[in-house]
């Protein structure tokens, strides 16, 4: 960097993570900084590599659901649903309609919970300490709801191959309506607190811009891709479960910057709640699970199933050879692909921006490292 007549400067290597408060888990990035500017970056992952895909090869199909819970541990139900759909597709299993509705309600609720967590942590990344408390207040209510329905607050193992574990409790609809009203108020409040604060806008607007074309070559998906103006959402493109019966919109941004990525998630929470409300009205009576054998043996074949997770498009590639355990399971984790573009996003930004941009990608290391 040194030129004639200027002070001689050197680049400093700053090792951010794996123990750093804002790398969202055990992510590590090595930054080369010139003063406060990020010149180069090398991301390192794998600190949470548990070999989930390999573990799946040794487990029964029913047991694998518990492994999928632990991939993206913020949106467990979405993951469970993905794997169950893959097996159901391979076996040609019909899922009772009521089960589908319960799945959709819970998955969308989980999306809200996941985005609330993002909401809070993003505030922390930007330096605001209060939003996370408000977000957790609302998330806690959702967790309590999950506890009442599935019996667990995070690792549910509730969505089973062929349906769901059990029917919802009797007062479910009533409690859900109260819950939705409270969450809506909570989101509005946090929205007022953070979203349009001038300091927050200055920190996020125009930071970490990526254009649609680059985002697509990187395989980005979910809110991160939609922030670039690409309306790609599996729930609309290839409606799975009963998503084609609901009226909801996909929030898309224009600039592809951190603020768009942030606000898309806020809007998505509102859309998710619209879906839940419609689902609560439409939900039919009936059985909640198609009885299956204890040991499932899907036929030979392979399927690739896509689903829309809070973090983006998740996919599972399931190869079966007809045995009671899958031959190969490969997960396409959305955070993994979104994180790949970090180098692109961090070009020529400040150290403080690096934290905000990483936060806006909303990664979960559990599924990046698997």
């Amino acid at each position: 960097m040194s030129t004639e007549g200027q002070l001689d400067t050197i680049q400093m290597m700053v090792n951010m993570g794996p123990q750093h408060p804002s790398t969202h888990g055990v992510f590590r990035m090595v930054l080369w900084v010139d003063g406060e500017r990020v010149v180069d970056l090398e991301p390192h992952i794998g600190y949470l590599h548990r070999g989930s895909e390999k573990l799946c090869e040794g487990e029964l199909y029913a047991q694998i659901v518990t492994l999928f819970d632990r991939l993206d541990y913020i949106s467990n139900l979405n993951n469970e649903m993905l794997f169950c759909r893959a097996v159901e597709k391979l076996m040609g299993l019909e899922v009772p309609e009521r089960a589908e509705y319960i799945r959709v309600i819970l998955c969308e609720l989980n999306r809200v919970a996941s985005h609330l967590l993002f909401f809070g942590t993003f505030g922390i990344d930007a330096g605001a300490m209060t939003p996370i408390m408000y977000a957790f207040r609302d998330r806690e209510k959702i967790q309590t709801m999950f506890e009442a329905v599935t019996g667990a607050r995070m690792m549910h193992n509730f969505i089973r191959i062929g349906g769901v574990k059990s029917d919802v409790p009797e007062d479910f609809g009533q409690r859900m309506r109260v819950l939705l009203r409270e969450i809506r108020q909570g989101i509005d409040e946090t929205d007022r607190l953070l979203s349009f604060s001038e300091i927050f806008l200055a920190r996020t607007k125009g930071i970490g811009v990526i254009d649609a074309e680059t985002a697509i070559t990187y395989g980005m998906s979910g809110p991160v891709l939609r922030a670039c103006g690409v309306p790609m959402d599996v729930r609309k493109d290839e409606p799975y479960s009963v998503y084609d019966r609901f009226d909801f919109g996909i929030p898309i941004g224009e600039k592809g910057d951190s603020w768009d990525r942030y606000y898309i998630r806020v809007e998505e929470m509102r859309q998710s709640m619209r879906i839940i409300e419609q689902a609560l009205e439409q939900i039919p009576d009936g059985p909640t699970i198609t009885p299956t054998r204890l040991v499932l043996r899907p036929p030979q074949g392979e399927v690739y199933v896509r689903g829309e997770n809070p973090r983006g498009e998740i996919g599972v590639y399931l190869v079966s050879n007809g045995a009671d355990r899958p031959y190969r399971v490969k997960v396409r984790p959305p955070s993994f692909c979104n994180l790949m573009a970090l180098k692109e996003l961090l070009k020529d930004t400040y150290v403080a921006d690096a934290v905000v941009i990483l936060g806006s990608l909303d990664i979960v290391l559990g599924e990046v490292d698997r």
Partner: protein, 170 residues
């Protein structure tokens, strides 16, 4: 108990292509004629098995041909079929909304394959991961350093014949 239910011949999952899939199944041999792919269908996916050295050329064609326009690399993974390793590319088109599976078989002894990072930047970490877990070398990849495993890890833990280290109960 598990053994009692085992059947002699495991059934095949039925093919159930949708309209887009049927169109693609007819289109693929035509577009990729010069590479002579084996086009088939498994469940709801159109599968083309090609020679490993052709992969970058096919990918380039698939990405640039307006009838296919596979601009999105959905997933890249390796499946170990013991006698060969199969590198599987799931390609998706954001404009046409269709999907195909490209497969290339490589030998397990010295598996290597040209990289597709120049087509899709998103292939970067997938290829590094495959190299980590299965030992597939991707020629032309800018940085083949270990991604998920630590430096100096012995063996390829993704493969079927990898022996798990013994687990000690605490």
């Amino acid at each position: 108990m598990a053994e009692r239910h085992r059947q002699e011949e495991t059934p095949q999952a039925p093919v159930a292509l949708d309209d887009r899939g049927h169109a693609l199944e007819l289109l693929l041999p035509e577009v990729l004629a010069e590479f002579q792919p084996e086009v088939g269908a498994v469940v709801d996916l159109v599968v083309a098995i090609v020679k490993p050295q052709d992969v970058p050329a096919i990918c380039k064609l698939a990405k640039e041909d307006p009838r296919l326009s596979f601009d999105y690399l959905m997933c890249l993974c390796v499946v170990d079929y013991v006698e060969h390793l199969q590198v599987v590319y799931h390609l998706y088109s954001t404009t046409m909304k269709h999907m195909m599976v490209l497969k290339a078989n490589v030998s397990p002894e010295k598996p290597s394959l040209p990289s597709v990072t120049s087509m899709w930047a998103g292939a970067d970490w997938y290829e590094r991961e495959s190299h980590d877990l299965f030992g597939v070398a991707f020629e032309g990849h800018p940085n083949m350093a270990p991604l998920l495993l630590y430096e100096g890890f012995e063996g390829y833990p993704g493969r079927r014949d990898y022996e798990m280290p013994e687990y000690r109960e605490w």
